[in-house]
Amino acid sequence: MNAPQPNLHVKARGSSELARIVRVNEEIKAIVATAFRINLMALNAIFLAKRAGNAALGFGVLSNELRRFAQDLTRNMSSLRDMTSGSVGSVTGVVQYQRNSAILAEAIRLSGEGVPGAREARRRGAARLSAQQGKLRALDIRLRSAVEETQQLVELGGVLARSAKIEAAYGGTFSPALMQVSTDFAEVIAQIKRSLEILGKERLVKD
């Protein structure tokens, strides 16, 4: 066969785009798992606050808020996951069109530029590729804005975790246990923040 290298190059580029989607999905999965953990932690905290009685009334309220936060976060992440699932189709389309265009370009190069129908085929291929890339860009913008929205939500989660720490100090004999729970909350939320930062930097399509 003649010069198969251009095709291999396209394969490598395509697989890096798919690899980006996989990374985004993995981060989302990690955040969903963490949100589930916060939900359970908040439930435990609510029971703990009940046992602590009047001394942990404020902590109980914050635990309820943290539970609601975990549920909102799960909802946000699930809509993010839907978006990336949809993007797999668009990325695959881009990869396929890129690969086909590159192989066709190689075929036309081997045949000489004067091959009848070559220009039309190129124009058609370019139009299809650009339409598919447009879809992916639009999806990328939606994904970024959804990540920003989630980052704001997580900021609120961070405030709740800090407030829970303050309330834990008034927990009387339950104070060490409440302090431990609120520290766990803060750590888990910091972990989510890191994942969201990574997500915010990922692009489904290169500029």
């Binding site: 066969m1 003649n2 066709l104 075929a107 190069r109 045949s111 009848p116 129908g117 058609r124």
Partner: protein, 246 residues
């Protein structure tokens, strides 16, 4: 580099063989592609896989205007036969692909819209090309369960897909079979293993014996001409097929 060789020419009726590619990578099975040209229309038989598309396209373009391609005849569904479909459609989206009805819903995994596919019924059908009446001849189970060959009664050429295929050593580069006895040794193991049904084989031998064939052009290996066609049919008829080893 693949090249198109004209194996039949009469007025505006031609058969091109894009056969034997000594420069292809060793891990890909060598394939032959054939183009039937009649007037302003052309039909490509078993266009091959994705990896060899550039060399098939350029070989075809050297001898024939590729915009004249009206269709693709796919003997069966294997990747070395038709995995380049999406690329041919990229070049000409309105191409029709003739394939056994059995594979009609499988082939879109390689590409194409619903309107791309023309299902061939089990008994076969006539395919019109620029006034020619080509015949899709049933060759089911040889080796695919939905399998067709293409017969051109005017040129007396039978495109026989995998039947007649030979896995030839690198130094056997000739377009035609020159020494049947030597050649057929390279076809034996292939036919024993790939052809799954003795009954289907006998049916096919009877069917094609009734046709006037000057050339039998397989998808792998060299082309059978003249008396070698009947020699092959006789040899195949006597061969035990559907066996792992013997």
């Amino acid at each position: 580099m693949k090249q198109a060789h004209c194996i039949f020419e009469e007025d505006d009726h031609r058969w091109l063989a894009i056969a034997r590619d000594p420069s292809k990578p060793g891990h890909i099975i060598d394939t032959n592609e054939y183009v039937v040209v009649k007037g302003k229309e052309a039909l490509l038989c078993d266009p091959g896989g994705i990896e060899i598309f550039p060399s098939v396209f350029s070989a075809l373009s050297a001898e024939c205007d590729p915009t004249r391609l009206a269709g693709i005849f796919s003997s069966h569904q294997d990747p070395d036969i038709i995995s380049s479909l999406a690329l041919w459609l990229e070049f000409k989206p309105e191409l029709k692909c003739y394939i056994s009805w059995l594979w009609q819903s499988f082939l879109p995994h390689f590409g194409g819209e619903e309107s791309t596919f023309v299902p061939i019924p089990d008994p076969g059908m006539t395919i019109s090309l620029g006034g020619l009446e080509l015949q899709a001849i049933p060759a089911h189970y040889l080796h695919s369960s939905g399998n067709f060959h293409l017969y051109d009664p005017k040129a007396k050429i039978l495109f026989s897909g995998d039947v007649g295929a030979a896995l030839l050593p690198a130094d056997h580069n000739g377009l035609y079979v020159e020494d049947f006895g030597r050649h057929i040794r390279h076809a034996e193991a292939f036919h024993k293993r790939w052809m799954g049904s003795d009954k289907a084989k006998r049916d096919w031998c009877e069917r094609v014996s009734r046709l006037e064939i000057d050339m039998m052009v397989p998808q792998h290996g060299a082309i059978y001409r003249g008396a070698d066609v009947q020699r092959f049919i006789n040899w195949f008829s006597a061969l035990e097929v559907g066996v792992l080893r013997s």
